[in-house]
């Protein structure tokens, strides 16, 4: 008898809780909630979705059957109904049957899964090859056939809004934590090979709409492929814990028609070239500081913090630090940015001379650091030669 009463109580409780939750979340009725896996935009992602749904249906049916028997028993086979317990304790036939049936179900699931896996594994005949390298905490993309290398950082408005108690509503940031300063541009309808690797710790490259994720492991290269069927912007993020900035290294794939892709490749090559050449230009303190702030936000802030204080015991402070304030150590400062030190990665490859000059100038003239030192791109170029 007791359970009936408590069942009613249970159901009432659930109703109350859920109505409370409805009131708490005004978005619930907007149907903007993602409940299920995406079907994605590639043939593989569609198959993965179908396989997911098949297994979900299978376990749901098994669950309904098993739990129905259980709850039927709970309601009917109870002492309060004056039932005398049965004595049976085994039945070999039944036990064999319910060993074989799950086995058959598993075989039935394993067959399509095996076929799908074999298709996902075949990276041959790709037309575009990309190498994605994970860094703490950004992605580098090499277009292997095009001699293009781009770095993809968390977008600046997300950086601002994601600071602790920033006072900025995450909703106001464009695609909060899922937006980058530079997107990975890919052509639609082509077989694209995406190799993943890493420079420091293990990361994982994941865009749900492409239907898979793959670890990016330092010293090793993993091979994957995709064919994107639909133009659009597809977002994902690093999926393997990689330290403090793990939640802050998004991936943005921009799929464009082939023509647009070819144009983008030309444009980007030119832009990269002119960026290299601009290293000869002299810049003013203001120009350097404002550029330096952008570079700092994308590359340095995660560890050394917005206020330059770092985190005690892990990431050293820059504010008041001798290397960032003593004049005789300017070269050392520049070289540390280029070559890294201990856990600090080397930025020499990913940042141009202008970027490094700007960020070093910024660090020497911000917070309590008032050195007045101006570092020019040519100083950085000189440091590289030493």
């Amino acid at each position: 008898m007791y359970l009936n009463k408590s069942m009613t109580r249970f159901l009432t409780n659930i109703l109350v809780i859920f109505s409370l939750l409805f009131m708490l979340s005004p978005n619930i009725l907007n149907a903007a909630w993602g409940l299920n896996m995406t079907q994605g935009v590639t043939p593989i992602s569609q198959d993965v979705y179908n396989m997911h749904m098949t297994s979900l249906y299978v376990v749901t049916v098994i669950g309904i059957l098993v739990f129905s028997v259980m709850f039927w028993s709970i309601f009917h086979h109870r002492k309060s109904k004056g039932i005398k317990p049965a004595k049976f304790s085994h039945s070999t036939t039944v036990e064999i049957v319910w060993t074989l049936i799950p086995f058959a179900i598993i075989v039935a699931l394993a067959i399509p899964a095996t076929k799908l896996l074999a298709r996902m594994d075949d990276t041959s005949k790709s037309e575009v090859t990309i190498k994605a390298t994970g860094y703490q905490w950004k992605w580098k993309y090499d277009y292997i056939d095009e001699d293009i290398t781009i770095y993809s950082n968390l977008a600046a408005d997300s950086v601002d809004a994601s600071q602790k108690n920033s006072g900025i509503d995450p909703k106001t940031a464009d695609n909060y934590l899922r937006n980058t300063d530079t997107a990975l541009v890919l052509p639609v309808g082509k077989k694209i090979r995406i190799m993943t690797t890493a420079s420091d710790v293990i990361h994982a490259w994941w865009v749900p709409d492409l239907g898979w994720k793959r670890d990016a492991i330092p010293g090793f290269i993993n091979d994957n492929w995709t064919v994107i069927n639909k133009e659009g912007v597809y977002r994902g993020q690093c999926a393997e814990i990689c330290g403090k900035g793990h939640g802050y290294m998004p991936i943005v794939v921009k799929a464009v028609p082939e023509k647009e892709y070819t144009a983008w490749v030309q444009e980007t090559k030119l832009a990269l070239k002119s960026k290299k050449e601009s290293g000869d230009k002299e810049l003013s303190m203001d120009e350097l500081k404002s550029k330096g702030e952008t570079v700092y936000k994308a590359n340095c802030l995660a560890c050394h913090q917005a206020n330059g204080q770092g985190i005690k015991g892990v990431f050293p402070a820059l504010d008041g630090s001798p290397i960032a304030t003593v004049k005789s150590r300017i070269t050392e400062h520049i070289r540390q940015v280029i070559y890294g030190k201990n856990n600090m990665p080397a930025f020499g490859e990913q940042l141009s001379d202008t970027d490094i000059a700007a960020v070093v100038t910024y660090e020497r003239n911000t917070w309590g650091n008032k050195t007045g030192d101006i570092i020019q791109p040519k100083d950085v170029a000189e440091s590289r030669k030493k």
Binding site: V69, S73, T114, N165, C238, G313
Partner: protein, 531 residues
């Protein structure tokens, strides 16, 4: 029976008093009690870390902690819950119950028993002290993957030695259990008459002995990589970071069953008691448990499908993983068949056991889905996985431990617990745990990775619901402490039998049992064990 036991009790009840009783104890009941109390304390320490995690995830943006500390909460929460709460609770139950279930006077190796317990508080002092150091606690995840874990600061050697000590403690506990069960059974207590709880624990003990030295080896290699210039896991020195994952999960997957098998045993004790009917398919339960244990050594790489294994490797581990569903299914079917045509009542232990059957099975379902390699490429390292393992570990293992606590509290204390409050505790736990973890399936499928301190606004609503469930679950467990303390201090006296439908040697003793029980071995008959 109980008067005889009491006479026995008076005669043999010599024990040191005060703090010495506990520090120098070689008594399986005292050590069992210490294990259980210790695990409850760790459950709350680990739980408070979960509260920090859920508070930070309550809404998007960073409100309470910085990402580094968040990562250390995620890491230490897991280590504390696995090594501090669930494993010691299992060992505590084994200590208390195995000798009185098989008619032994005590554990086979009582001094080692004392040592294996007292290592633990020191090991956790090492681990938890790192949270107060400059640089904070370990923050690379409990899985300790290099190269990330090698970036840990001062906390690193503390983490490694804490894991070593916990491993030593568990191995000693396991040796003790095996020695006890194989050498100290009362006459007539044949292997195939042993209560299922004893069976699952013996098998668990073998898993511990086989897997923990592997973990010790893996973390030792980390230690030498960090301080002695070796390159086991450093690609630049010719090593392989993925090698660590293989070694770790060769320990890690059996570890999952180290947490789950004793829970299976508990449920197999409780359901027959409250259904007043013999356990269905006793022999197949034993074989299923053994099959699960053996299979658990051949599925480790399903934790690392995305590292880029060769396709044949992935297929092997997919098939082996899916195969585990068969013996696990057998267990669930057997429990349901045990209920079938029984005469059930629904006291707190039974409620927790029934919830275990349903919710553990749901965790098993998502486990089967995760085992399908091509789809796991989407699920892997998302909240879908977080939901999955909390269903099997919280509503699975922890619910079974709660069930066991209510089931055996009257035996341990001699007093009945407050049934009404216990039912409130059950419903509060069962509902809040589902509000906490069910929406995490949706979060994972929608694309939220695990172990992130902040998230995109599209995940906000389910995270808020999950956090509310988390807070409710946390508060509900305070009620459990109140019920346990109240029961320990007094209450309606419990008979030796306690539960009408209970069978087995432990129920022939008084409640509480004498300090030294079965100093003369009881005679075990078929009738005593069965219905």
């Amino acid at each position: 029976m109980s008067t005889i036991a009491h006479a026995d009790h008076n005669h043999h009840d010599h024990k040191p008093t005060g703090i010495k009783r506990w520090i120098f104890s070689t008594n399986h009941k005292d050590i069992g009690t210490m294990y259980l109390v210790f695990s409850l304390i760790m459950f709350f320490i680990g739980g408070s870390m979960a509260m920090v995690i859920r508070a930070e995830l309550f809404q998007p943006g960073l409100q309470f902690v910085d990402p580094q500390f968040y990562n250390s909460m995620v890491t230490v929460h897991a280590l504390v819950m696995i090594f501090g709460a669930v494993m010691p609770a299992g060992v505590g139950l084994a200590n208390w119950m195995i000798p009185i279930m098989i008619g032994a006077p005590d554990m086979a190796l009582p001094r080692m028993n004392n040592m294996s317990f007292w290592i633990m508080p020191f090991a956790f002092a090492l681990l938890l002290s790192t949270l107060f150091m400059d640089g904070g606690g370990p923050a690379g995840g409990w899985t300790m993957y290099p190269p990330l874990v090698l970036q840990t600061g001062k906390a690193f050697p503390f983490l490694i030695f804490a894991v070593h000590f916990l491993g030593i403690s568990s191995i000693m506990g396991a040796i003790n259990i095996i020695a006890t069960v194989f050498n100290m059974r009362a006459p007539g207590m044949t292997l195939m008459r042993m209560p299922l709880f004893v069976w699952t624990w013996v098998i668990t003990a073998f898993l511990l002995i086989a897997s923990l030295p592997v973990l010790a080896g893996a973390v030792t290699m980390l230690l030498t990589d960090k301080y002695f210039g070796t390159s086991f896991f450093n690609a630049a020195g010719g090593g392989d970071p993925v090698l660590f994952q293989h070694i770790f999960w060769f320990f890690g997957h059996p570890e999952v069953y180290i947490l789950a098998l004793p829970a299976f045993g508990i449920i197999s004790q409780i359901i027959p008691t409250f259904a007043r009917k013999p356990l269905f398919g006793y022999a197949s339960m034993v074989y299923a448990t053994a099959s699960i244990a053996i299979l658990s050594f051949f599925v480790w790489a399903h934790h690392m499908f995305t590292v880029g294994l060769p396709i044949n490797g992935e297929l092997f581990f997919m098939y082996a993983t899916m195969l585990i569903a068969v013996p696990t299914g057998v267990k669930v079917f057997n429990w349901v068949a045990t209920m079938w045509k029984g005469a059930m009542t629904f006291e707190a232990p039974m409620l927790f056991a029934l919830a275990f059957v349903v919710l553990f099975t749901i965790g098993g379902f998502s486990g089967l889905m995760l085992g399908i390699t091509p789809v796991d490429f989407q699920y892997h390292d998302t909240y879908f996985v977080v939901a999955h393992f909390h269903y099997v570990l919280l509503t699975g293992a922890v619910f079974a431990l709660m069930a066991s606590a209510y089931y055996w509290l009257p035996k341990w204390t001699g007093n009945m617990y407050d049934e009404k409050l216990a039912k409130v505790h059950f419903w509060a736990s069962a509902i809040s745990a589902n509000v906490l973890f069910f929406p995490q399936h949706f979060l994972g499928l929608a694309g939220m990775p695990r172990r992130i301190p902040d998230y995109s606004v599209q995940f906000a609503d389910f995270n808020m619901i999950s956090s509310l469930g988390g807070f409710a679950y946390g508060i509900s467990q305070l009620l459990f402490v109140y019920i346990v303390v109240k029961c320990a201090l007094g209450g309606k006296k419990a008979s030796g039998q306690v539960w009408e439908g209970a069978r087995g040697l432990e129920w022939t003793l008084s409640s509480p049992p004498p300090y030294h029980s079965f100093t003369k071995p009881p005679k075990v008959t078929k009738e005593l064990m069965e219905y």
